[in-house]
């Protein structure tokens, strides 16, 4: 992996890794009387481990001179592997916490394994670990190919990828140790958040610098989405996580936002993490890998523009629909509801654009499970955005909020849209990146597809049922005008659905494990493809524009 770095770049990498390790030592010393010390040791080991890897091949041969004549694919390969590792981890945690809701003794009477601590390891593991690594890897791939230029840095792509994974490790290990801000999907504490800002700014600069090198006059649609993803996630992350640590030697901090303002900021963040992490980023994937796999151009350029700016503008207003009927001022709730409904237009513009792109390629959808992954993802995207707009309407929300319906909605999006588009993209990307003819086994891709679809449908139907039953039981009155059911009655009614949900999740997890095996065997045991040119445009080859 280091063969592509010059000796001065290796020095630079070694200095960076050592600096991280030293920061870990400082954290361990300052936080010796607090759980912060444990994180100091983890940071030290992480930085030290990377420094050790760099040192083992520090004196390897210099790279050949024609580095700029090829794309920089090493960090992408590692990113794909990390993404799949996190997928299995995050989905396993998901199945575990789902099972705990049906069988609470599966916590085994330990602090670290209780539902409240494990649940964020699931959400962080799948959203940031699986999704984030997949986004970093595919964005590095897409920006190079659509710009026909090599990444603008040699060490910085590694810094972004590994630094992001350090953040994920700190976040997940922190929850198990009891370190959390309790802000949903932003649970990591202040020092991990600060670290992510450094990583993310580097990511942004690297991305923009690569686009600035492009040999194409126009910036391709997929890159609009990746740029919006990187930029807006930075804004959301910084504002939501503004906090005051109780001291530099403690992991604990208090947010600067009190009460109702905190609720608004949190759900402005929370909903736009869905918008810009789980939607914009993955639409970037869709706009590149779907047309590539279908061998069809995007159906409509105008629809792409409409949906892109619609999503960037409308989503930022929608967060307050998480706070209907609460102490948040009514007008803010109403604005949130209105924009959530309007969001259906750009959302369906994207979903429609994707499905219409498949016109003329439906025979491929039938025969090729990889393309079918992406087709199904677009369908689920359309369905869950419709459901989202529907649930944001105040009276509907009065029933759905606080129930499993919300959980089902999130998973229709996360399993049906995010995970399916990722698997489809990875199955397209892996053979081309490792220069193989094809995936190791088309049958296993097919098996994975049906496991994923079955798992998603079982999950979502279970949660629709449980959520709606729960919501209705809470508001049912007897003839005499008293509440008909106690809370416990509604909980008892949930158990069959909790078991079904865990089973659906298990199917999805098995599919992901099969995907890992298939990717592994593709890299290890699939014949090389006949070479074809997949290189950046050389300066000499570009006629004056």
């Amino acid at each position: 992996m280091l063969a592509n770095l010059t000796s001065s770049e290796r020095q630079y990498a070694l200095i960076l890794a050592s600096a991280v390790a030293l920061a870990g030592v400082a954290m361990a010393i300052m936080g010796r009387s607090d759980v912060l010390g444990v994180h100091g040791v983890i940071v030290m080991l992480f930085g030290g481990g990377i420094a050790w890897v760099v040192m083992t091949s520090f004196y390897g041969p210099e790279p050949t001179d024609d580095r700029t004549a090829s794309y920089y694919d090493d960090p992408i390969k590692v990113g794909i592997v990390l993404s799949m590792v996190w997928a299995v981890f995050g989905m396993f945690m998901g199945v575990w916490v789902a099972a705990q809701l049906a069988w609470p003794n599966l916590a085994f009477d330990a602090a670290w394994s209780s539902f409240g601590r494990l649940r964020p390891t699931h959400t962080t593991g799948v959203i940031f670990g699986f999704g984030g690594n997949a986004l970093i890897a595919t964005s590095f791939h897409v920006v190079q190919r659509t710009s026909r230029a090599r990444l603008a840095g040699q060490v910085s792509p590694w810094f972004v990828l590994l630094g992001f994974n350090l953040f994920c490790v700190l976040a997940v290990s922190g929850y198990l140790l009891g370190i959390t801000q309790s802000k949903e999907y932003a649970e990591a504490e202040w020092y991990a958040d600060l670290w992510l800002v450094i990583v993310w700014v580097t990511y942004f600069i690297l991305y923009i610098a690569t686009i600035a090198r492009r040999k194409e006059p126009h910036i391709y649609v997929a890159n609009w989405y990746f740029m919006a993803f990187i930029l807006v996630v930075a804004i959301l992350h910084i504002i939501n996580n503004l906090a005051l640590p109780i001291s530099l030697g403690h992991a604990k901090s208090y947010t600067i936002w009190p009460g109702v303002q905190d609720a608004m900021v949190q759900w402005w963040y929370g909903h736009n993490a869905v918008a810009f992490f789980l939607t914009a980023g993955f639409l970037g994937m869709l706009y590149y890998y779907l047309p590539v796999r279908a061998q069809r151009p995007i159906f409509s350029y105008r629809l792409s523009i409409l949906s892109f700016w619609g999503i960037v503008f409308f989503y930022m207003w929608a967060g307050s629909h998480h706070l209907h009927y609460t102490a948040l001022p009514h007008w803010v709730q109403t604005l949130g509801m209105t924009f959530s409904v309007m969001l259906l237009v750009p959302s369906w513009a994207s979903a429609g654009n994707a499905l219409l792109t498949l016109n003329g390629a439906w025979h491929r959808v039938r025969d090729d499970a990889t393309l079918r992954f992406m087709m199904a993802a677009a369908v689920f995207y359309g369905l869950s955005t419709f459901e989202g707009s529907f649930m944001a309407i105040r009276p509907v929300n009065s029933l759905s909020h606080y129930t499993d319906w919300t959980v089902g909605h999130v998973h229709a999006g996360a399993l049906g849209w995010v995970a399916l588009i990722t698997f489809g993209s990875l199955y397209t990307l892996v053979p081309s990146l490792w220069k193989r003819e094809r995936m190791y086994s088309a049958t296993l891709v097919e098996v994975h597809f049906w496991l994923a679809i079955a798992g998603t449908l079982i999950y979502v139907f279970a949660m629709w049922n449980s959520g709606i039953i729960q919501g209705l039981m809470w508001r049912t009155y007897t003839e005499e005008g008293a509440l008909a059911y106690s809370f416990v009655d509604s909980l008892v009614a949930m158990y069959p659905y909790y078991i079904a949900r865990a089973f659906g999740g298990l199917l999805f997890l098995i599919g992901a494990v099969i995907g890992c095996y298939n990717i592994w065997m593709t890299v290890r045991a699939t014949p090389l493809a006949a070479t074809r040119a997949d290189v950046p445009v050389q300066p000499a080859a570009v006629p004056g524009e």
Binding site: I208, I246, G259, S320
Partner: protein, 250 residues
């Protein structure tokens, strides 16, 4: 025409970046900024007190254990919620809450007004094994809380941080934070009187977990649960929902 402009925009990375920031900023600015200036956002509640150090420590345990993942603390303005849980929640009731714990999911019931509904003994038994008191419950057991001594020495730092963020803790409260935490859970010691002096006569001083010799995490968590909804009675004044809360099990 617009397409022509967009073709130009697509040629400039910086232009595109600025356009994204501009388009994405409007919603947040419109919705968040006014919340800080509009007086009506947060009601007046002159009787409201701050969390005692023990309650704050308990709140931090609630945060640490991720209780918010299954319990909301936000009663919505809906008839069935008011009848099940009590008067709907007001913004002022969470004015000192950093972070807020309104929650997003009720795998278990809302806890905004749980304070005082059950005895300390019930809470301890329930936390030790929920199925001992509610056989159908799927809540995890938290037996280790009663075995873990509460860390109190850094409580002055916690209060100082809250103070500098604007929570009205006095310097005296900050200074005595560790002593007050100890005193609130050990009614027989000399430290107990300082708690009611500083936080008011209404403050509950009790051996929450039934053991008056050691302050554990169980003491802190139960102290917090017992004060939920009782920092102010603003929600019970002059609203349609001024009746007493009904039993959450009913």
């Amino acid at each position: 025409m617009s397409e022509l402009f967009h073709r130009k925009l697509e040629r400039s990375a910086i232009g595109f970046v600025i356009a994204i920031i501009a388009a994405a900023s409007v919603g947040g600015i419109v919705e968040i900024a006014p919340l800080f200036t509009i007086d009506e956002t947060v009601e007046e509640a002159p009787d409201m007190r701050v969390y005692t150090p023990l309650e704050l420590a308990g709140r931090n345990i609630y945060v640490r254990e991720g209780c918010y993942a299954c319990h909301s603390q936000m009663i919505r303005t809906l008839r069935d919620e008011v009848e099940r849980y009590g008067p709907y929640s007001l913004a002022v009731e969470s004015q000192y809450d950093r972070p807020m714990l309104w929650g997003s999911k009720r795998t278990g019931p809302d806890l905004a007004r749980i304070g005082g509904k059950y005895s300390d003994f019930w809470h301890v038994a329930h936390l030790n094994n929920p199925r001992d008191v509610v056989p159908e419950s799927n809540m995890p057991a938290y037996r280790w809380l009663g075995r873990t001594p509460l860390k109190m020495d850094d409580l002055p730092k916690h209060l100082a941080a809250q103070q500098s963020l604007g929570v009205p803790y006095t310097d005296e409260m900050v200074e005595n934070a560790a002593r007050d935490a100890y005193g609130q859970a050990t009614p027989d010691t000399d430290f107990a009187s300082g708690v009611t002096e500083r936080y008011g006569e209404e403050t509950t001083v009790s051996a929450f977990d039934g053991v008056a010799t050691q302050v554990t995490e169980m003491d802190a968590l139960v102290a917090y649960l017992q004060v939920l909804g009782r920092l102010t009675d603003a929600a019970y004044r002059g609203t349609a929902a001024s009746e007493q809360p009904s039993d959450p099990e009913g």
